[in-house]
């Protein structure tokens, strides 16, 4: 079980959080303009990386805020936590 540093509440047990999949997939502003393939790409296609992955999490049993984390999926080390709308760390 991880300990996640919620940007609003601080360090909490993983059981208070829910994972929300890959981060930085923006909902298209004009879905109707997209082809079936483009829409399917947004809907279904997700990376599943062994290594550094950007992920969405929500403090479901806490402040209910969504935020992003950078996690190494090979050893579960959380490299960074940042709020929605903030730029992902580059290093």
């Amino acid at each position: 079980m991880f300990i996640i540093n919620c940007p609003f509440c601080g360090e909490r047990e993983q059981s208070e959080f829910k994972a929300g999949g890959e981060a930085h997939i923006v909902r298209p502003k004009q879905p109707t303009e997209l082809s079936d393939d483009q829409w399917a790409d947004y809907l279904f296609m997700r990376k599943n990386i062994k290594g550094i992955q950007f992920e969405r999490w929500v403090h479901a049993h806490g402040c209910r805020k969504w935020f992003n984390i950078v996690r190494d999926t090979s050893n579960d080390e959380i490299k960074a936590v940042y709020k929605m709308g903030e730029k992902p760390p580059t290093e």
């Binding site: 079980m1 991880f2 300990i3 829910k18 929300g20 923006v26 909902r27 004009q30 879905p31 109707t32 997209l34 079936d36 829409w39 399917a40 809907l43 969405r56 929500v58 479901a60 209910r64 805020k65 969504w66 050893n75 579960d76 929605m84 709308g85």
Partner: protein
């Protein structure tokens, strides 16, 4: 009484405190401090069980948690019975009853023992190969196999014991209280760190605490005396908590560990009442120090599994700690110096050592010279090629090893014995380290895996880190502790060590015999009866991955997880295939390290606490009025209210008729309620629902359908506009939390620019729904001040009202198709409003109805229930609900998906009504729907989703999803059931009052 092999008093055994116990129905005695294994050995009992596959007689092999053979059943046929318990870990208590497992009719005469003589037909993979064909026969084979094999019996009665879970936080957790663990705990605690030291055994000090040899000294004191003083000191440390009888089961990432603290297992049964049996500790440690020691390796040679063959270190422990001789004529087989430590202990206690067989040829060892001085014959460069004695070893045959160790040469020498100690060197106990994600490296000199890459803030010290001797410990442990704990000094600088061990070792994974391998039985995994032969067979058959070989041969898959034999399995694979050990790697060690009982895992979460449930404010009334309940999500909902002698069907028929003919009342408090406020609330609803919301007037209600982005129906419910920027949304009972989460997700991540605030108010309101032609009359009594005329209060509208000064919200909405009101009131008034409605409705025979009647009434109207008539593959178009999908809105969640190539297919499953040709035949929900019964295989078109007998229509009605069903109106279909085929006709899903006249009746 059998022989007494108690040799010399030990300070760990209280000989003034005699304890009686039963083993296989016979009464024996032991002393306080004994384990079941030591007490049995003291009574000269080695044979305790039969092996899993061949039912070979097996004896006690070790003195610790790694025991593969002495697996027993405690308190057979009682509610406290427990299978697969290691006799080496059970502390005896008055009244203990233990019995052998895996033998029938008895351990001394086991019918399946014949498997042993049939063993050529039981090679690796035998069960897979033989009993899997033909597949249909497996059921028949399984019954007999399970009867003949199988370890232990699980209890059939409820567990009478209490179990608890506890969270523990500390700066430093030290696992293992051997010499290294004691040093670590003392250093951490003395430096102001909150420290927890735990050990699986009842005493502290590991194997050093009974090391009474002149050959091992610390600062000129015998190592056990030195350690005893250390232990007395740490017991006084304020920052240190010590837990014995506590076994770490799992070491997870982020230094999260689970440990089982055994509190009452060592007490007589009558003293356990009202005491917690086990505590499951959920530990979060800032730093973890693993000091789990090492496990002695057996040696793999022909017939190495007879009762009377033990690990050499176990024989030493039984002598030194328990004062028990494992035999009167002992022989030791070794490839390293450890066996000489055992010999010295035995000599000290006057226990006879006949000979030592050492695989090594040239040895310069102080320990060896000391043993030789006592006129004990040492066979250097020899090995055992065979043993004999069916239920107890009585003879060994030895031969000289060839230079390369692959063959035996010379002539055979026979030696008689009643006990054989074997030592193949030591395996660092890295199980917990690897569980936590640690990576190992292989050390060639002594052929051991040791920790290499640490995944979290942790440290391995002492034997589990490969520091196997006293001088290595004192050289390395203080240094690592200083670095790991960031401190300058320990109490262990400049300590003088006398350590006589010679580190040389002659490692031969599979010792040769004069017979060919095929004619021998060199066991690698004792519990699962896997031999070196089986491993070689698996390799010949093409298995290469260690994980595959493990599963095929079942090596390491017993309750002991191969703590003894895994290294030999790896070694044999490495030798046979030529792949280096480091590349081969180990199999994954999985939690728990030693088995946990289910009681420990569930703790207090049993019975009504197994899964918490939610009650509405009106719950007590339902209970008092004999409602039957059903679980909906976490809620307990009233299902139906049977009157005397009524079954469910009769109750539901009565309730449904009353609701349509006069008045019904339903507790709808469980529906999810979300308060939505903000200047962009209307826009928000436009984006999340399929229909339009901007034009909804204040005081009006509207039904909405919510989709997933993939276009599939997610939830539904009525939302009411309370003010310009204020809405209250209702969701399904089961979907409330998920809907709330989904809405928050979109608000925070996709549309942060919207000014909208969401609050879950499900628990804040009680909801009472009154329906039926007389509902208006009832409501006019309950809320006399409210103008209920259709002009003032039409269908799908809302009014604020007061019931004796209490504010409430009244919605005129209907899920039954009847004229109907929903009163929402502050939760704690829920029950009194309900009772008020019951009182006012008395003259109209107001009838409380439960969820089953609600489902029937809505099915008559063809209203869907999300999750029953839909699954995650139904679009609103599939549900024939095109009317609710706005064509004008530019976008809403899921819109784009409604015209993907897949969702516009005409032959998708669509929701239809189903009428049985026989109006009294009620379909089974979930039944398959087909068109052509003669086609093979029969093509499934869909299934029945809802089905009832409608008392109002006096016929059976059903909803179902059917491929292309939309265009099948009036068509005949078939529901094939086990005993008959039922003919149905596809119909409109609305069965009653298509014109909605009843809403205003």
């Amino acid at each position: 009484m059998t022989k007494n092999l108690r040799v010399k008093s030990s300070k760990f055994i209280d000989e003034t405190y005699r304890i009686s116990f039963e083993f296989n129905g016979i009464k024996y005695y032991g002393f306080k401090g004994d384990t079941l294994a030591s007490a049995l050995l003291a009574n000269d009992i080695h044979l305790v069980g039969r092996s899993f596959k061949y039912h070979r007689p097996r004896g006690i092999m070790t003195a610790g948690s790694e025991e593969p053979n002495a697996i027993i059943q405690l308190h057979n046929n009682s509610s406290r019975t427990e299978p697969n318990v290691r006799a080496t870990e059970v502390e005896i208590y008055e009244g203990l009853e233990a019995s052998s497992q895996n033998c029938w009719p008895s351990v001394n005469f086991d019918i399946s023992g014949i498997n042993n003589f049939l063993s050529p037909i039981f090679p690796a993979g035998f069960y897979y190969k033989t009993f899997m064909w033909p597949a249909s026969f497996w059921k028949k084979y399984e019954y007999f196999i399970r009867k003949a094999a199988g370890l232990g019996k699980s209890p059939t009665k409820p567990d009478p014991d209490i179990y608890e879970h506890k969270f523990v936080h500390c700066d430093v957790l030290v696992i293992g209280a051997g010499i290294s663990g004691i040093m670590a705990a003392k250093t951490a605690a003395k430096n102001g760190l909150k420290t927890l030291l735990i050990d699986e055994k009842p005493y502290l000090g590991g194997s050093t605490i009974y090391q009474n040899s002149q050959h091992f000294k610390i600062n000129n004191q015998i190592s056990s005396s030195w350690l005893e003083k250390e232990i007395n000191e740490i017991k006084k440390l304020k920052n240190l908590e010590i837990k014995t009888r506590t076994s770490v089961a799992a070491f997870h990432g982020y230094n999260f560990l689970l440990a089982r603290e055994s509190i009452s297992d060592h007490l007589p049964i009558e003293q356990r009442k009202n005491k917690t049996r086990h505590k499951l500790l959920k530990i979060r440690a800032k730093k973890v120090i693993t000091a789990t020691g090492s496990i002695e390796r057996p040696l793999v040679f022909n017939n190495n599994d007879r009762p009377g063959i033990l690990l050499s270190s176990a024989i030493k422990k039984y002598a030194d700690l328990f004062g028990v001789a494992c035999g009167n004529k002992n022989i030791l087989l070794t490839n390293n110096d450890s066996a000489y430590e055992t010999a010295i202990s035995l000599i000290q206690k006057g226990i006879k050592v006949e000979a030592i067989i050492d695989n090594r040829e040239k040895i310069h060892s102080k320990l060896l010279y000391n043993v030789e001085k006592n006129n004990i014959k040492i066979f250097k460069g020899f090995t055992i090629v065979d043993t004999s004695g069916y239920k107890r070893i009585n003879k060994i045959s030895i031969m000289q090893l060839s230079k390369d160790g692959q063959k035996v040469i010379g002539s055979k020498i026979n030696l008689s014995c009643d006990c054989l100690g074997i030592s193949g060197g030591w395996t660092p106990a890295v199980h917990l380290f690897t569980q936590s994600g640690g990576k190992l490296t292989f050390r060639e000199e002594d052929q051991v895996f040791i920790p290499n890459i640490y995944p979290s803030t942790q440290l391995s010290i002492g034997a589990c880190n490969g520091d196997l001797t006293l001088d290595e410990i004192f050289t390395n442990v203080p240094k690592s502790l200083k670095e790991f704990l960031n401190i300058k000094n320990t109490d262990y600088e400049n300590i003088e060590i006398l350590s006589s061990t010679n580190k040389s070792k002659r490692n031969i994974w599979l010792l040769p015999s004069d017979k060919i391998l095929g004619k021998t039985k060199p066991f690698v995994d004792y519990q699962n009866d896997a031999t070196a032969k089986d491993i070689k067979l698996a390799l010949r058959e093409g298995f290469r991955s260690i994980e595959h070989v493990k599963r095929y041969t079942t090596t390491g898959m017993g309750t002991d997880q191969g703590k003894l034999g895994n290294m030999h399995a790896l070694g044999i694979i490495s030798e046979t295939t030529g792949v280096k050990m480091n590349e081969l790697g180990t199999t994954t060690f999985r939690p728990p390290y030693t088995p946990l009982t289910f009681g420990t895992i569930v703790g207090r979460n049993i019975g009504e606490y197994f899964d918490i449930f939610r009650k509405t404010p009106i719950h007590d009334w339902h209970v008092n009025n004999k409602a039957e309940f059903e679980n909906v999500g976490q809620w307990k909902r009233a299902w139906y209210y049977p009157k005397k002698n009524e079954n469910m069907h009769q109750a539901v028929q009565r309730e449904s008729k009353a609701a349509r003919e006069s008045a019904g009342i339903l507790d709808a408090s469980t529906l999810g309620k979300i308060d939505i406020q903000g200047t962009d609330a209307s826009e928000f609803l436009n984006r999340i629902y399929t229909n339009a919301w901007s034009k909804l007037a204040i005081g009006k209600c509207r039904y909405g359908l919510m989709l997933n982005e993939d276009g599939m129906v997610y939830d539904d419910g009525v939302t009411t506009r309370l003010g310009e920027n204020h809405y209250i949304m209702t969701t399904t009972t089961g979907g409330a939390a998920n809907v709330m989460g989904k809405l928050e997700d979109y608000l925070q991540t996709e549309w942060p620019e919207l000014d909208v605030y969401l609050t879950s108010v499900t628990d804040h309101f009680a909801t009472v729904s009154v329906c039926g032609p007389n509902s208006k009359k009832i409501l006019s009594q309950v809320i006399p001040d409210l103008d209920l005329s259709d002009e003032n209060f039409p269908h799908m509208s809302f009014k604020n009202a007061k019931i004796s000064k209490i504010n409430c919200r009244v919605m005129r909405i209907s899920f039954t198709g009847e004229h109907s009101y929903e009163i929402n009131i502050q939760a704690n008034y829920g029950k009194s409003i309900w009772e008020k409605c019951m009182e006012a409705g008395k003259e109209f025979n107001i009838t409380p109805y439960g969820t089953e009647t609600m489902h029937l009434l809505r099915a008559e109207k063809g209203f869907i229930i999300v999750g029953q008539d839909t699954d995650a593959t139904m679009t609103p178009i599939d549900l024939q609900m095109n009317w609710i999908v706005s064509k004008k809105k530019y976008d809403f969640i899921g819109k784009r998906s409604l015209y993907r190539s897949d969702t516009i297919r005409e032959d998708r499953k669509q929701l239809v009504g189903l009428l049985t040709d026989n109006p009294n035949e009620v379909l089974e929900e979930g039944a398959q729907i087909v068109a052509d019964i003669n086609k093979s295989p029969i093509e499934m078109l869909g299934h029945v989703t809802s089905s009832y007998y409608s008392p109002n229509l006096k016929k059976s009605i059903a909803l179902g999803v059917v491929r292309g069903g939309k265009n099948m109106m009036g068509q005949k279909l078939i529901i094939p059931m086990e005993k008959k085929n039922i003919n149905v006709t596809v119909s409109d899903p609305v069965f009653l009052d298509k014109e909605n006249k009843r809403l205003n009746a």
